[in-house]
Symmetry: C2
Subunit: 369 residues, 2 copies
């Protein structure tokens, strides 16, 4: 009998930059060419970005090989799309010296990030997020993943980007409903981490709805700083990072039960209001704050109650199958007050009785008069 | 314009154990159950391991969910198999607390290791290699990967095992040809790293061919130590680790040109002899050593010349498409003497003129009389 210990060497701390600005997409390619000189570039984007003109703006005359995801959106966020991307890269004779440039929303970033993580055992990825959610959230943290036939995010990897470029001008071409729903993640960030950010959102909502560049840059800055500080404290989602799931446990369940008729942000708004009702039942938070949150969602024009064509049973069933569930029931992230997550015995997600959740769901079905 | 630097935290050095013994497969499951208490176990193996009785030996009465790769071998080492494994795990409601146990040869280890790297953003994998090549090589280093339709190892990840268990008794059930071909990687390890190991192989070849347990344990121990020391010095294959490719540049090309009629080890034996001829032309190494290497391969009964039904053009074409090629021509690993790789200006793989390689190929087609 022999025994050998194999050492796995340490990996040094590193960092990457997120740059936030307005209208720099048209000059970015030259910079990427310079920064990644000698690397083959491969662009992953989707058909919406082509028709909005952003692919043309980024690439100009460049004939860099590319993969245009079609149809755009969650429906293509699956392993088949990743396989097609890798095979397209192979056919273009790209090797380990490649860099993938992801231009698009959260799905594009997830798909392209995962493809970069697994192509030839990993190549760098540059993220250029173009939606409120991806600019607020998906570009920081290194989570990538795609769905299997059976469930969401069955495939995935932690893969940090080499650089992130946020041009808030890309938000101008978004449809109104997508844009408004996308702002919900910003509200979530404010609720879990920064009361002054919540004040900023409240007082600038008109400018936000007019998509004013200066305000959007500040929004992206707030969001990325908050996300980065949470992720740096807990990169592999052992505990604290779970606070980013505020409103998401109920939100995911409502989104799934709607057959994805509700947009992610719309469902999360309902989930955040649901978390508020749970907090009320547990004597956390203040009624006045809950009212402020409701008003912000009303001004954003996102739903504040569960659509009546959904059923409570279906929502409960999805909650039970939550990927973070233990014994068929997930823990919930709650806040003590705006900007401050409730933490019990070092845990950032807490047990909530099933009866209480059912009661809250009943209430969420009734629009407040 | 804003700029944020996101820190990616350091990852501490870690280690895992390789245990080498004889006949402990039957009691190993109990130990895995104890070491990974509270984790769901999922076994990946192939039909050969089932029919050889090793799956039964490992699992006993356990009804742990499993995936049996069929057909066994390289032909199943592709992304479709990985997708089937992940979907089987999903259907068994396995979550992030799972551990994958890989029982089999190199392909099983590669497939299961890659599945572990991408399931729910990564779960631990225990490797139980059962062939000479996987015991010598694949169980150390953390390289995992599978093929796309277009090329070999297009998908992959670096994913270190949580533990490796080598039971040399599993080698007893292997077919004679596979067993003998598998010994070529041991010869390669001796050639690049340890002359005394080469002496050991030479003097124990009869016991090796009789699959004597004590000698096989020592072989596995030599192999894993050599592989581990090379990998520890260069975990991401920047330079020094390339020495493990000794004999593989020509070997891969001959293997591919044979349409995989030649086993990997058989092709690598030809590649090692080819490297020896290149060394002779460049005045490296000694004629006497080359003769010792040829004799060891003759006693192993592996080919010492390129089969006459292969064509030089096809082999050259594959060399040009080598994944490590730059400007359509790879560098070659060469040795100065047994146990010592030739290193030029800090490079462990060196340029060799195409004409010289062609000349060597011509010579490799002619069996030595």
């Amino acid at each position: 009998m022999f025994k050998i210990d194999v050492k796995i060497p340490a990996v040094k701390a590193a960092s990457y930059a997120i740059e936030i600005g307005t209208g720099f997409l048209r000059t970015l390619w030259r910079r990427i060419e310079a920064d990644f000189d000698g690397h083959n570039k491969f662009v992953v984007t989707d058909e919406n970005l082509v028709s909005a003109g952003h692919v043309g703006a980024l690439l100009g005359q460049s004939e860099a090989p590319r993969f245009v995801i079609s149809p755009a959106g969650e429906v293509s966020k699956n392993i088949d799309t990743v396989v097609s991307i890798i095979e397209t890269m192979e056919q273009a004779s790209l090797g380990r010296d490649s860099v993938i440039i992801a231009l698009g929303g959260g799905s594009v970033g997830d798909i392209a990030g995962f493809a970069a993580a697994v192509f030839k055992r990993g190549v760098p990825v540059i993220q250029i997020p173009t939606t409120p959610v991806s600019q607020a959230d998906a570009s920081v943290g290194g989570k990538t993943g795609v769905d299997s036939l059976v469930s969401k995010n069955a495939f995935g990897a932690f893969w940090q980007p080499a650089a992130v470029y946020i041009d808030v001008e890309t938000l101008r071409t978004l449809a109104e409903r997508e844009y408004r729903a996308g702002m919900v993640e910003s509200v979530k960030h404010a609720l879990i981490a920064d009361e002054s950010y919540f004040d900023f959102l409240e007082s600038n909502l008109d400018l936000i709805l007019r998509r004013e560049a200066d305000v959007l840059e500040r929004l992206a800055h707030y969001n990325c700083r908050i996300k980065a500080s949470v992720v740096e404290a807990d990169p592999r989602e052992k505990n604290q990072r779970r606070m980013l799931n505020y409103g998401h446990t109920l939100g995911h369940a409502v989104e799934s039960a709607s057959g994805y008729e509700l947009l992610h942000g719309e469902a999360v708004a309902i989930g955040i209001l649901g978390a508020g009702l749970i907090e009320r039942e547990l004597d956390l938070g203040q009624a006045e704050s809950r009212e402020r949150i409701r008003r912000i969602f009303e001004k954003l024009g996102v739903p504040t109650s569960i659509p009546s064509n959904l059923t409570k049973d279906k929502i409960l069933d999805t909650i039970r199958r939550d990927k973070k569930a233990v014994n068929m029931w997930p823990r919930f992230v709650l806040i003590e007050k705006i900007g401050c997550v409730y933490c019990e015995d070092g845990q950032w997600a807490v047990d909530v009785e099933r009866d209480l959740v059912e009661k809250v769901l009943d209430e969420l079905f009734c629009p407040v008069s």
